[in-house]
Every structure is written in C-alpha cells, then in structure tokens.
Assembly symmetry: C2
Homo-oligomer: 225 residues x 2
DNA sequence: GTCTGTGAACGCATTCACAGCA
DNA sequence: TGCTGTGAATGCGTTCACAGAC
C-alpha cells in the first residue's frame, strides 16, 4: 500500500467481471514487469495492457476508474504503482491463508501447485476423514482429522477454504467450514452448495466447463462470448 | 435423441450463461433421477428444478424456451425426456474424446478424476515433453511425446484439448493442438492464449478464482453476484 | 498530439407478469 | 387451479465518444 493514491473501495455495484479482469491484469503486469521491455518502460498505456491481457482498452480504463484515478493523461499508468494498486484492490497484501479439505487427486494437485505461493496464497491446513490418510504429509503439511477443522479455523482466523471432496460429502464440509468462520469457499465438488448470504462460494465444476466447450462444438461459434 | 421433440438449435444470441446453467441442470437432474423421489416422480416443475439447482425458476423456463417447448402446462417437465433433451442440447450424445497435455500434478489429477467418465468424457491421449515421463502410464494410458500430437489428433478426429502445462509452454501447446484440428480448449495455465476465432478457449486460473474470493473478503458482500 | 477518465448510449441478460393451456 | 411459455420491463455491463489533462 503506497498511500498517495486514494483507492475508492466504497462504490457499490462493481461488476463481478471487473474483479476477474483486474486479477488477470495483475497477473499479466507482474509477468510484464519482469521482461526486458517491462523493465525499460516506466509507464504502460491501457492499449498496451490490452495487448498483453487480451482485454479491450476501454474496459481496462473503466475497470480501473471504479477505484480511482491512477493514470496520467498523455502517458499512461506507472507500471509499478499500478501493480501495487491492483494488489490493494484485490486484497493481495492481506493474509491469504487457506484450509483445504479432501486429500484426493485434485486436493493433492492443488497442494503441490506452485502457482499459489507465487501469488501469495498459503495452505495452512489439510483435512480429510479417511483414517489411513490422517497423519501423513503432503509437501510439509500434515493431514488432520476433519473433526478438528472448526477450532483450527477459528484459532488461526482463516477465511478461505477449498473443497476437493466427493459431491456427497461437500455440503457437510462446507457447513463445518462456515461454522468455523470461513467466509469464502472455492468448491471443486460437482454439487450446488447451500450457504448463508454472508459467505461467498465459487464452484468450479470441470465437467460443466467441458460441456460448455462441447456445446460450442456442436453448434458452431454462435453463442455470445 | 428422441425425435418427437423439436430442438431449435438455430436461434442466435443464446447467452453463454444459459449453457452453463443448463449444464448444471443436466448434472442435477441425473442425480435427482437416481433418488427415491426422482424415481417416483415422472415430471418435475421448474420450481422443483430450482430447488435442486439453486437457479431461479423463471430463469430455467426461459433457458429451456430458447430451444423449444418441452414442458406441459399444469404438470411440468417429464424428467427423463428432459434429461435427454439436455443431452442433445449440450451435445452429450456425440463423441467426447479428449487429449490432455502436461502430465504434472494437475494433469495427473484430472486423468484420475472419476467425474469425466461419469459425464461421458474420455481421455484418449496424454502428452508431455519430458523424456523421463514419456512411455510411462497413468491409469491405463501411456504418455506420448508431444511431438506426435498433431497427427494423433488428426487421425482420431479429436476436437477437445486440455492444457495443464506451465504458463511458458502453454501457447506452443495450444498452437500444436489447433494445427491438429482441436476446436475447444480447456486451459489451466495462468496465461492469456492467442487463438483464431473458430476456436473456443476456456481458461481456468485457480489463483484468479481465489483472488475473486479475496476481493469479496476485503470488501464485504458488495460485489454484484 | 497522446492517452486517461467518464457520462451517455447501447445491447444483452435477467426478472416480471400474465396469457394460454392442461 | 397449476405451471409453462413469452413479450415487456428492468437492470446491468460494455462500448462509445469526447472532454480534459499532460
């Protein structure tokens, strides 16, 4: 947080899609800042950002404008400031601790995935209900019994949970997470979860994603993008 | 495909979100049809579908109406017919063969994931560029050299590809896939791919999904759902 | 001249309300 | 009466166009 930019975080009605796009900008700008060209250029225009992200430049300006005025007319946006601003907007600087439940195939893959650490996420706890898995380690984290998850979450004040259990166990896991104080859930189980309004759930159903592609195949490129 | 329902597949301007919702309906109805209640009830109303999917009933009726008239006023939709109709709309009945490139953590997890087979998807080929992996098996499929992917895809007429390689290799993999005839790509690499207009790419960036949740945490439940 | 920031215009998707049919 | 199917209304998000700053 730099302090001399005012980030307006109070406006209502910010499109969900805006957050998604800004997150992509954030990722692409960090990569850009590491390249030769990125190290040379102090500023970047919205149309240059458009080139590296694939998002159109009008949209980028609009998205940023929801949060404040960060650019200079005639020159563009200061690259490093912009990265820090995006960090603040997206909450990158605050704690990003995660608990994960379900030490199966997908769970294990996520735990070993390097991308998390790179983006500042840390998996603090892994849980399962399979007695033969409890006590074993994945990476350097021990798998704990799902029974103790609520107190674990509460004690460490963790707010984000990832669910990678089978569909029929997912609702119960979600309930435990929410009871412990989790506010955001990334759910990989192919099921529609029920949850209170103050919790946010993001479900990634890989088969559903594939089916969207199949629909595209069977109908040609006619669906709105 | 039953034949006595006319599925209007020619209308333009079908929202992308409609396909996503219908896919969720499809999954939930198949589960429903297996339950005691589902076996008893021959028909299901849009508000009952709403209960099991979490999608509102107006939306469900509207989404189905894009494709034809499948319900009966006063009673609802015949469950099994509806499932078949959704299969046709979503293209479930046609071939759903897949090639996957990148036998790392996420790739392996997807290959072992049972959900694919359940929903009719079959992984026909696995590719990697790491010589130490080539020739080894995951499940019952051998890992092949990425160099032969184009002819493999062409010979088997495969249209769907999954990319689970690191970001810096993803574009090249996508190019090979497209050259071989792939029309739809599910991309797990955190990078914005370039591709021709006749190809559809669906990128799942797990860190981006998490960042959306972090934003929700840091700003409270104010973003549009 | 260049490029941002923004109100206004547009278009798309969701919600509503009710006509029409069983 | 119950529930679908659908035009109409609403609301949201994207695109446009240009005023304003550098």
């Amino acid at each position: 947080m730099r302090g001399y930019h005012t980030i307006n975080n109070n406006k209502k009605n910010i499109p969900q899609a805006t957050i998604h796009r800004l997150s992509i900008c954030h990722r692409c700008l960090e990569v850009f800042a590491e390249t030769a060209r990125g190290r040379k250029l102090k500023t970047i225009s919205s149309s240059e950002i458009s080139e590296i992200t694939g998002i159109n430049s009008h949209q980028i300006r609009k998205d940023l404008a929801y949060f404040g005025k960060f650019g200079r007319r005639g020159t563009g946006y200061p690259v490093h400031d912009l990265i820090n601003i995006l960090k603040s907007i997206l909450g990158s600087s605050q704690k990003r601790d995660i608990v994960l439940v379900g030490a199966g195939n997908i769970g294990k893959a996520l735990i070993r995935y390097r991308g998390f650490q790179k983006r500042g996420f840390t998996i603090k706890g892994i849980f399962d209900n399979n007695q033969s898995k409890i006590g074993k380690k994945i990476g350097n984290i021990e798998i704990s019994d799902i029974k103790i998850i609520e107190s674990f979450i509460r004690r460490r004040n963790i707010k984000i949970g990832i669910i990678t259990v089978p569909a029929d166990a997912a609702q119960e896991v979600a309930n435990h997470m929410i009871a412990g104080g989790i506010k955001s859930i990334l759910n990989f189980a192919p099921i529609t979860l029920k949850y209170p309004h103050y919790v946010k759930v993001n479900t990634i159903d890989i088969s559903v994603e594939l089916e969207r592609l199949v629909y595209f195949l069977s109908s040609g490129p006619r669906v709105n993008d």
